[in-house]
Symmetry: C2
Subunit: 240 residues, 2 copies
Amino acid sequence: MTEPTDGVRALAVDIFGTTVDWWTGVTGQVAEVAAERGVALDAGEVADAWRELYLPSMARVNDAARPWAYLDTLHRESLDELLVRFGVDGAFDEPSRRRLVRAWHRLPAWDDVAEGLARLRTRYQVVALSNGGFALLTAMLKAEGLDFDAIISAQNARAYKPDPRAYREAVELLDLAPDRVLMVACHRWDIDGARRAGLRTAFVERPREKGPHRTADLAADTASDVKVGDFVELAAALGC
Amino acid sequence: MTEPTDGVRALAVDIFGTTVDWWTGVTGQVAEVAAERGVALDAGEVADAWRELYLPSMARVNDAARPWAYLDTLHRESLDELLVRFGVDGAFDEPSRRRLVRAWHRLPAWDDVAEGLARLRTRYQVVALSNGGFALLTAMLKAEGLDFDAIISAQNARAYKPDPRAYREAVELLDLAPDRVLMVACHRWDIDGARRAGLRTAFVERPREKGPHRTADLAADTASDVKVGDFVELAAALGC
């Protein structure tokens, strides 16, 4: 019987949302800094709004409306805009803003990741493929104790997913044909971008990844070769 | 007391010779392929001669005498040249040449590496920084069961060590000042290149890395911040 993942040699795994719970991590750290500054602020709303500026900020880089900019820079610009919008611009000094940007460097992994990743690595090359900066990814995955076989960042391509250049750089670095690589992600835009670049795709549903106020993407929203609920299910689906 | 490694946050570790025993690995695989082809050949001499073409072949890329070429391509060109020189050009068909180039993808780690690396990773970010291709490094380190925090290849910079661009790309990817990064290597040219790029340096002496017919570089040949005999000694020297 032919399986849709036959011939896959490597898995390229998205990080924010798919591997780590950015919403809980960012909300907690925003609440902490806000409390220290004596500011009343709905930290979850800030996290929601901050993430909503993420795709548009990267699109301006991909469309060459601006030169390559590191994710930390984009996060900082979005934060400055939000603090004005939330009417608390005066309450956050430079060090506290830098700390808030660093909140994205230290996010907790979902509970199933460590086990699923270890099982997947017994059979496949498993690399991180994220829009996070290379240093951010290296530090965050190390802090969470998650060993990947390698880390590939949008920074390596100087283009952000879902731009095809980001996926093609990964495929080229791995020296594989695109259809030997399975993109693992919880966002429709990432799955769609990977498919357009010729990769296979696995949708991992993360219903809580946008927190309690927003609706997460569902596997049913798009086409993918594999649909699973977490990394342990993914390992089982791929025979690990 | 001030130590020469104070402030170091990350280690950039060379691979061929420093981490893996290329001479034994390549010699064994050359001997195996030669036996299958029924050719009498001193496999160790081939390994020696092959490696001696390594730095000149990379220098032509760094000097822009030719465009970027993947290490496998350079290895293949050197091999073709050597088989003529050894008078056995007719004995190796295309598949056997491809297999010989792949010999560089599967090399045994020195005995001290696994323990030393695990100890070093408890305190530092430890990344591979090698002239090997990204795919080669990912596959080889996985096969040897060696987990680094990340892998950086000369391919990421499109320039080979000791060109300063190779070290600067690593420092930029790690988002650190150059003197926060300690280059760990067993070759004088690599230590010298890293120092010129502003990195700290640790010389690991590998007296057998060029096999029984060639003399390996010694720490005394150049200046470095740390001089050790293996990765376990390095861990101890760095307080791990």
